[in-house]
């Protein structure tokens, strides 16, 4: 039984088909890149795994169960936006995560925040945009989850911060856990991917191992993407 399974999933918003006939398996211990242009259905697919949407038809299974309370316990999700209560102090957000997620590692979170010299008494709203995003990443990576889902973790961030973020992801990634990274900045992350999923117009157009692509097609993932999604 795979960690996540999509069986013939459709998702429509009224007349618009956001996802068509998605069949997908996410295995344990792999890092997946979910790559596609804007509007391709990436976010919809992610929302279905997180129980933020229900399929129009077909089913999504996580550890064999429908998305719900149990799946949320083992999934750590970093959305593309600031989703925390900005009036809270850093230490209050940490307490919040500790309270609701039994797999939250408070020490790790503090260690990572100390490295960034963020005082835990700081109010979130006083932090810069980049720092806010790093705090959110730290919270997500401080959980010992079975599945990490990162939606555009490095979009709109300066190169030094990008390095920090990717380094944090690799250093704190739980062995045996899986990860799905949604991004359009492929060149920056392709080296850390096990598997590559291309999605376009609500359909999966490719699902292969990154090293296979390199040895068989002799291309970088970035170049393959450009070829597949030529305008």
């Amino acid at each position: 039984m795979s960690l996540v399974e999509f069986h013939n999933v459709d998702k429509n918003y009224g007349a618009k088909k956001a996802l068509s006939d998605i069949n997908l398996k996410i295995e344990r211990g792999h890092i997946y890149g979910l790559l596609g242009p804007n509007g391709s259905g990436k976010t919809t697919l992610i929302k279905l795994i997180n129980d933020l949407l229900t399929p129009t038809s077909g089913e999504v299974l996580i550890n064999g169960l429908k998305p719900g309370v149990e799946s949320k316990k083992i999934i750590s999700y970093l959305p593309e936006r600031t989703y925390l209560n900005m009036n809270l102090r850093v230490e209050e957000v940490i307490a919040y995560f500790k309270d609701f997620y039994t797999d939250f590692d408070e020490d790790k979170a503090h260690k990572l925040l100390d490295k960034l010299k963020i005082d835990s008494k700081t109010k979130l709203k006083t932090l810069s945009k980049g720092t806010k995003e790093k705090v959110q990443l730290i919270l997500v990576m401080s959980r010992k989850a079975d599945l990490y889902i990162l939606d555009e973790p490095i979009g709109g961030v300066d190169p030094a911060s990008r390095d920090y973020i990717l380094n944090t992801i690799l250093e704190n990634f739980n062995e045996g856990s899986s990860m799905i990274i949604c991004t359009h900045l492929i060149a920056d992350i392709e080296r850390i991917l096990d598997d590559v999923i291309f999605i376009n117009d609500g359909k999966i157009v490719l699902n292969e191992s990154a090293e296979e692509i390199r040895s068989v097609r002799k291309m970088t993932i970035d170049n393959l993407f450009r070829e597949e999604f030529k305008c």
């Binding site: 690799l170 250093e171 990634f173 080296r191 991917l193 090293e211 390199r214 040895s215 970035d222």
Partner: protein, 121 residues
Amino acid sequence: MKFDFNGDKPIYKQLVEVLKYDIATGEYQAGDKLPSVREFSAMFFVNPNTVQRALNELEDEKLIITNRTSGKFVTDDHKLIDNQKKSLAIKALEECLKKLERLNISDEQVIKYIKDRREEK
């Protein structure tokens, strides 16, 4: 340290080469404990499974030994490491000499260059 791996060739193979070189140059001495898969992963900025695959290949060649409880270690076999050093050196030389041949540089010119360089030091 981020190595510029070629994204259009399998990365694990390139990583194997880098690690062989590191062992041969003494970056990791005989018997040294190697960093964990996760540490390598962050160091080289490469997928952990890819790191594991590279380490497995080095283990197949007996350059690395895995101790189930304490981690991965460079082999104690100095002779093996020396052989590795030799084959890497030969490979480097062959590449270099091939390039020089194409540039029509003779063997004598190469030897003179090496001698002059040594004297300067």
